[in-house]
Symmetry: C2
Subunit: 336 residues, 2 copies
DNA sequence: TTGTAAGCGTTATCAT
DNA sequence: ATGATAACGCTTACAA
């Protein structure tokens, strides 16, 4: 027999005060006499009272929950962002609802609607690769909800944008390959509907220009960046005379190394490559892979803090750019 | 100016019926005249009505939410379980709140309490390594909440247990090493307060016994299984004459390979190893690492379905054991 | 088949 | 400083 959980009314009755007084005492209002407050707090603790957040939410019209929306929970990068954001938010008393879109526009709409409907206080998201633009997000997310985008962001939406310094990253990776003596450097560039890939590409081009080299659109591959396409485009790049590639992803970089092997070019002697994301396997492969290291932990933390700060101040969440850094390993150690 | 979202009362008023009728119609009750139902549904759709799940939850005393509790969100294995469980649950209309314990008992208690307080319908969890036993879970989780444990489970708790066939896994991995000609096979065994490690160890021992070999407790390392301890214990094992190890984790296996290298033993010729979990890097390393492949996707799916089925039938969620399979690669290809 | 009314547990408003 | 009261939006006996 479970005796029903005590409510503020139970406490009120036992102490001969009114429920509203108990509510005030519990929520730390100034308008309660010190002694009354003490009696209430003691009784509450004593009878194991616990606030019912659902009732509070119904009354207030908002929950202490934040939705995190990512393309895939099980991608290392996103898992790390989520992990760190979750920690921050939990510490601040927020629950976290996690949703994945599987890179599908339809799913993104669906989960956003579900989050809104359950009255989350904020949404921290990285949009799907399928999104043609931000219009559906604008249409679904009401202005009262704090919106924090990270990694893949739409600049025409309100709210915070927490991003990697992708321009800088593309620039450094490419400059590094140039310095190591590679002559014809192509790029596995990713999807141009996503800002972060456009930025990495821009960095790549700028590095070439700054080194007085031509930009050859013919060796810039605007394609998905998975292992298979990395292999295919790697072959094409090599056949077009490339002796190095900067890849906007590590898996496609992996495919490109396989392509070099397929063509009998030893990496790094005859073919250099730099990937992006510094996946665990990069350091363990042979040759080990140079890669642009991102910082999902910091992104997650900043995203969470941006939201929390906005709640505290009542203002808009604030944006940030996170530094990236190049992990130099064997795969780009120089043309010989 | 946002016009307040329509409620069932708004619909009721406009149609000249009672709110309760609208509620019934929307929840698919039989007790509504076909025509009335149609009018209500049409009006609801037309005015963009959306049910407020918070009000429903307050009324019913339970939400359509499931809590998933794991030691770390960003561990590949757990991220995969979560990802697949989330998909199943979302499809069934459930939200998913994800919590991590960082392997700490205190955090586990905290998040469990938070989930209970927010009235989740079920909890899918894998307990923390720090847990001495199941008593805190029993104390916190009320019987009305469906409990589904996976991977790391306590058998003395009610509810479902979805586990890998760890005994079989440990057995197969060890038998494989025996067949490949390794003579003295040790084990990086993990934590004995966790059933899954006990089972893998049991499998290891049984395989040795079945092959007529002695079980030497001196080369069974009951320690954490991370890269560092894998290295340290790998050194010890080698110094005790081991020429092979079965490791209950891939990272510790990695450390052990490094230990072999440190001692000048070539893997796999003079030192064989089989890891566990089939992490992505296993296939990319050199030598590539043999590993016991687990199936987090299936675990996640089964855990979610077990919960959903229990809700449907009103009964207890049902348990399952998932097959594991050995991925044979270079690191165990034979003593020479 | 539909309406009435009470209530889930909390908080905000107004009055005292 | 406290109390009374009315919501928040929905569901469910019970009545009609």
């Amino acid at each position: 027999m479970t005796p029903r959980k005590p409510t503020i009314r139970d406490i009120a009755r036992r102490l001969g005060v009114n429920a509203s007084t108990v509510s005030r005492a519990l929520s730390g209002s100034e308008l309660v006499k010190e002694e009354t407050r003490r009696r209430i707090l003691r009784e509450a603790k004593q009878c194991g009272y616990e606030n019912n957040p659902i009732a509070t939410s119904l009354r207030k019209g908002v929950t202490e929950t934040v939705g995190i929306v990512v393309p895939r929970i099980n991608r290392q990068f996103f898992a790390n962002v989520i992990s760190h954001a979750e920690r921050e938010l939990n510490q601040a008393g927020y629950s976290v609802i996690i949703c994945q879109t599987s890179e599908r526009l339809q799913d993104e709409k669906r989960v956003l609607k579900a989050l809104i409907r359950s009255q989350v206080a904020g949404i921290i998201m990285s949009h799907s690769i399928e999104d043609p633009d931000s219009s559906h997000i604008r249409a679904i997310v009401p202005s009262r909800i704090k919106l924090v985008q990270f990694d893949r962001v739409f600049y025409d939406l309100p709210g915070a944008k927490i991003v990697n310094d992708n321009f800088r990253g593309g620039y450094e990776a490419t400059r590094h390959l140039i310095e190591k003596g590679y002559r014809k450097i192509g790029m596995l560039a990713g999807y141009m509907n996503t800002d972060l890939y456009r930025e990495r590409l821009r960095g790549y081009k700028q590095a070439l220009l700054d080194a007085g080299r031509p930009v050859d659109e013919d060796i810039i591959f605007l394609d998905t960046i998975v292992r298979e396409t990395g292999f295919e485009n790697g072959l094409k790049a090599i056949d077009k005379g490339c002796d190095a590639l900067y890849s906007a992803g590590d898996f496609s970089a992996l495919g490109a190394i396989e392509a070099a092997r397929e063509r009998g070019l030893r990496c790094p002697d005859r073919f250099g490559i730099v990937g992006t994301a510094n996946e665990i396997f990069d350091a363990l492969m042979s040759p080990s892979m140079s890669s642009l290291e991102l910082h999902p932990d910091i992104l997650g933390q900043l995203a969470a803090r941006s939201f929390l700060e906005a709640v505290r101040t009542g203002g808009e969440p604030s944006s940030a750019t996170v530094e990236v850094n190049l992990k130099v390993r064997e795969s780009s150690s120089g043309f010989r």
